[in-house]
């Protein structure tokens, strides 16, 4: 009997896979998943380009500079002083700047723009009439900072929007899509228990969602690391548990697919219009931090938040909505979080299986 169930489930997964992976309707899911990869890739490319420019500057510069040298320059310092400290600038150009002197009058002041670099950071000085009038510092790349950015993009965009809507697209269509296509009866007329059908479809959806989104997570990591030397990466992997972080992100990605997948599978059995459940779940998940303790536990993000390798620190300048979303007043232990999320998903699937047993074909109603 059990082996028949597995045969049936694998047959369903095989039939469904074509639809979950290759549906034209689902193209946007790939775009959504690839968006952060493109973002990090562009970021790395820009950094690599700038890094090259700075290295050239170092080669051309009169003397080997350190970060401290760069930071020792202040407004008002004379040009001679700057040259004494940093040497002749490797890159310099002169621009005429119009300066206002009164209501209707202005004069043109020649301004020298001087750039220095220590190979990583860049210092740009504006010198007028022999003295420094403007300073701009661009700090170089740092993996620590970038992994912080990664954490933000992951939590705010990837988890809450990309995976959320991706799962909505994949899982809500498992039953609803076939109801709309008028092809669900092909399944309902085979000797398959409705629960088995549901599990088969869920697994097919899960396969697609995890493959798409884990690939995206891994690619995002790779895209972000592209800009660093092998040595920096090795050090990061070694000292900051880079691999463990990557594994944690992948794990959170898979768990998010499990959780949101179960919710949207159930929603697809209950609703014809995807907007209603999408909005309801989105709001419910966003409101999680302000819900009473018991209700909090009936959500997916509650558990995912505690599993993300980085806590987003609340910064007073943050827009209040982000601050609310990011706040995690009571982090829970990893095992409880994993267990809790799986428990919620199973509960939702159990409820869905009650519903699928009573499911009726109704193609005509809109």
């Amino acid at each position: 009997m059990n082996s028949l169930f597995w045969t049936q489930i694998s047959a369903i997964v095989r039939i469904e896979m074509k639809k979950t992976f290759f549906a034209k309707r689902g193209l946007w899911i790939y775009l959504l998943a690839l968006a952060p990869v493109a973002l990090f890739f562009t970021h790395s490319m820009v950094e690599i380009h700038e890094h090259g420019a700075r290295r050239q500057m170092v080669q051309k510069s009169a003397r080997q500079l350190t970060e401290r040298d760069l930071f020792s320059i202040g407004i008002g310092m004379s040009r001679e002083d700057v040259i004494a400290r940093l040497g002749e600038p490797p890159v310099s150009r002169t621009r005429n700047r119009r300066m206002r002197t009164g209501r209707h009058s202005s004069i043109i002041v020649p301004t020298e723009i001087m750039s220095y670099s220590d190979g990583n950071n860049e210092l740009v000085l504006a010198v007028q009439n022999g003295a420094v009038t403007g300073i701009q510092k661009a700090s170089g790349i740092s993996l620590g900072q970038d992994s912080y950015v990664f954490a933000g993009v992951f939590q705010f965009f990837f988890l809450r929007l990309a995976i959320f809507f991706g799962c909505l697209g994949i899982f809500m269509n498992l039953f609803r899509g076939e109801m709309l296509d008028k092809s669900l009866h092909f399944y309902l007329l085979t000797p398959v228990r409705r629960e088995i059908l549901m599990i088969g479809k869920y697994l097919a959806g899960l396969l697609a969602a995890t493959v798409i989104f884990s690939t995206s997570t891994a690619l995002q990591f790779i895209a972000l690391l592209l800009q660093f030397d092998a040595a920096v990466i090795a050090q990061y992997m070694d000292q900051n548990h880079g691999l463990a972080q990557m594994a944690a992100y992948l794990g959170v990605t898979v768990l998010a697919c499990i959780g949101y997948g179960s919710i949207f599978l159930a929603a697809g059995l209950l609703f014809r219009n995807p907007i209603v459940p999408a909005a309801a779940v989105l709001i419910w998940e966003a409101a999680n931090p302000v819900l009473p303790a018991l209700l909090k536990k009936f959500s997916i993000i509650y558990y995912l938040k505690s599993l993300c390798p980085f806590e987003i620190t609340l910064d007073p300048g943050m827009p209040p909505l982000f601050a609310l979303l990011a706040s995690n007043p009571e982090p829970i232990s990893r095992y409880i979080a994993i267990f809790g999320l799986l428990a919620v998903s199973i509960l939702v699937l159990l409820a869905a299986s009650k519903r699928v047993r009573r499911l009726e074909i109704n193609y005509s109603a809109d």
């Binding site: 047959a11 039939i15 296509d181 092909f186 007329l189 085979t190 398959v192």
Partner: protein, 312 residues
């Protein structure tokens, strides 16, 4: 195990809309036809039989099984629905074979069963084309193949003759007969009594959600005998065809249709008429469609059921 399909006081409401009401039936093996005009509840009965919908009241039992045990029921039952849609992107062959795997057949078995079913409906040449691109009649036939591929004992077929040309229709009817002879239940629906009466062991006449009459075809048949049936034929050379019909003694009246691209024929012996149509198709007439005129169908019902025309 019972050999009956039993409806025990079954009603189905779609919200406020009546599907069928207080249906009591006990259907033995053989060919049983559900006949009734559009909206009379034929599809509703068939969907109830196969668990696609659930009764609002009452019980359905198929050879002792209830429809909410699909894991057992569908080893015995095959259903060709009236829904003219297929899973996206599947060929005719895949439509049959991929679902056969769900019965527990291995690859070789399902391949063999699939070809057997496809041969039974004569679609071998088109088997590897996309089902969605099939003609109406071919779609009808691949659905039939799908419903009988696993050799069920109960075949439920919603308007299975719809859209078939006269030759294929004759072959398909022969197939139903063979199945019934082998002890199967063949339940089919039609809104044309004449289309199915000659092949049915019993008919169930549906009207507005009720079973209006039920029984042995002989008795029902003799009632209609001298009630001529009007049929509209669409073809390329109606004039020539008209002269062929005049020669037949069962044809009471032949008229050219107003648009001159069709022919209205009144016949007292529909079975002989349909046989004649088969021969005509072989003689090179391009027959586009053969359909009983709707008002005429209703008048047959009126006559049979003794009620006013179904108002739907």
């Amino acid at each position: 195990m019972s050999d009956r399909i039993v409806f025990d006081n079954v009603s189905k409401f779609y919200g406020d809309v009546l599907g069928v009401n207080r249906v009591n039936l006990s259907i033995p093996p053989g060919i049983t036809s559900l006949v009734g005009p559009n909206g009379s509840g034929k599809t509703t009965l068939m969907n109830l039989m196969t668990g696609l919908i659930r009764p609002s009241r009452g019980h359905v039992s198929i050879l002792g099984l209830t429809p909410d045990q699909p894991e057992q029921l569908f080893h015995l039952v095959g259903y060709s629905t009236q829904y003219d849609s297929f899973p996206k992107g599947l060929t005719g062959y895949q439509c049959v074979s991929s679902y056969l795997r769900l019965y527990g057949f291995d690859r070789a078995q399902s391949e063999q069963l699939t070809w057997a079913a496809i041969d039974r409906v004569g679609l071998r040449d088109a088997a590897h084309r996309k089902a969605a691109g099939y003609s109406k009649g071919m779609r009808q036939r691949i659905r039939l193949a799908q419903s009988l591929a696993h050799n069920p004992r109960v075949l439920v077929l919603d308007e299975p003759l719809n859209g078939l040309d006269p030759l294929v229709r004759a072959e398909t009817i022969a197939l139903f007969r063979a199945l019934a002879k082998g002890g199967c239940h063949v339940i089919l629906s039609s809104h044309v009594l004449h289309e199915v009466d000659i092949i049915s062991d019993q008919v169930i006449l549906m009207s507005a959600g009720y079973v209006a009459a039920e029984g042995n075809i002989q008795s029902v048949r003799s009632e209609i005998e001298d009630h001529p049936m009007q049929i509209l034929i669409r073809c390329d050379r109606p004039g020539e065809l008209a002269s062929r019909f005049f020669a037949e003694d069962h044809v009471v009246e032949v008229r050219l249709h107003n648009d001159r691209r069709g022919l209205l024929v009144k016949t007292k012996a529909p079975d002989r008429f349909y046989l004649l149509m088969n021969r005509i198709a072989l003689d090179g007439f391009a027959v586009e469609s053969v359909a009983p005129c709707d008002d005429d169908v209703n008048s047959v019902y009126e006559y049979l059921i003794g009620a006013e025309e179904p108002t739907r």
